[in-house]
């Protein structure tokens, strides 16, 4: 089975707000800038696998809870 193009959505904003963290705090925790956290939350930037795992770890959730892949077609 081949997986075609798709897009990645995420729950970063919801999880960050639930954890009462600011974007700057989350960025500091995962080694990213506040601007990158903003771009990820707005789904304008899909992070690398490494950063995705770091974000999941920061929320103490599995990656699947934070990021979701939506295949097109």
């Amino acid at each position: 089975m081949t997986v075609g193009r798709g897009r990645v959505s995420n729950n970063v904003r919801r999880l960050r707000e639930a954890a009462a963290m600011t974007q700057a705090e989350l960025g500091e925790r995962v080694g990213a800038t506040r601007q990158t956290i903003i771009a990820i939350e707005a789904e304008k930037y899909a992070p690398s696998l490494e950063l995705a795992f770091k974000l999941a770890r920061a929320f103490e959730r599995p990656v699947d809870d934070v990021f979701r892949f939506h295949a097109e077609g």
Binding site: A32, T33, Q35, T36, Y45, P47
Partner: protein
């Protein structure tokens, strides 16, 4: 606006200003003047000095606020995309110059109907190559800014 975005705006602005300086030195009434090798070299050295000053200023300002200077993976990805576009521009421009020079040589006995610059002189060739570099850098900065702004 992040430090990297500010630096990109600065690079774009200073690059345009330095290119305008070159334009002022190498052209007159819209035509490339045949500068002597000494004048062309002096202009080139002045341009290098201006370029160094333009590069040192944002680096000095960034050093004063180290918190915003660290690049993360998105910054590096944006830089890489900018570098790629810069490479495309250099590749295209160099090929345009090569085709232009070959065409000029091939049709040396004909007068061009369009006001095509003659790159036969050292000054004209230097100006064309420097313009290529500035154009490529400007495209890179525009791509970087577009990526940060989108």
């Amino acid at each position: 606006m992040s430090q990297h975005e500010t630096t990109a705006w600065w690079s774009l602005g200073s690059g345009i200003l330095i290119w305008l300086f070159l334009l002022m030195r190498f052209t007159e009434d819209g035509r490339i003047v045949d500068l002597s090798a000494g004048d062309a070299l002096a202009t080139y050295i002045q341009m290098i000095v201006l370029w160094i000053i333009a590069s040192v200023v944002p680096a000095t300002l960034a050093a004063k606020r180290p918190a915003g200077t660290a690049k993360d993976e998105r910054d590096r990805a944006i830089d890489a995309l900018g570098d790629r576009w810069e490479g495309y521009v250099v590749l295209i421009a160099i090929n345009v110059l090569i085709v232009h020079m070959l065409a000029r040589a091939w049709y040396a006995d004909r007068t061009p109907s369009l006001p095509i610059p003659d790159l036969g002189s050292t000054a004209a060739l230097v100006f064309a190559l420097l313009t290529t570099l500035f154009l490529a850098d400007a495209v890179k900065q525009v791509v970087v800014l577009w990526q940060y702004r989108r």
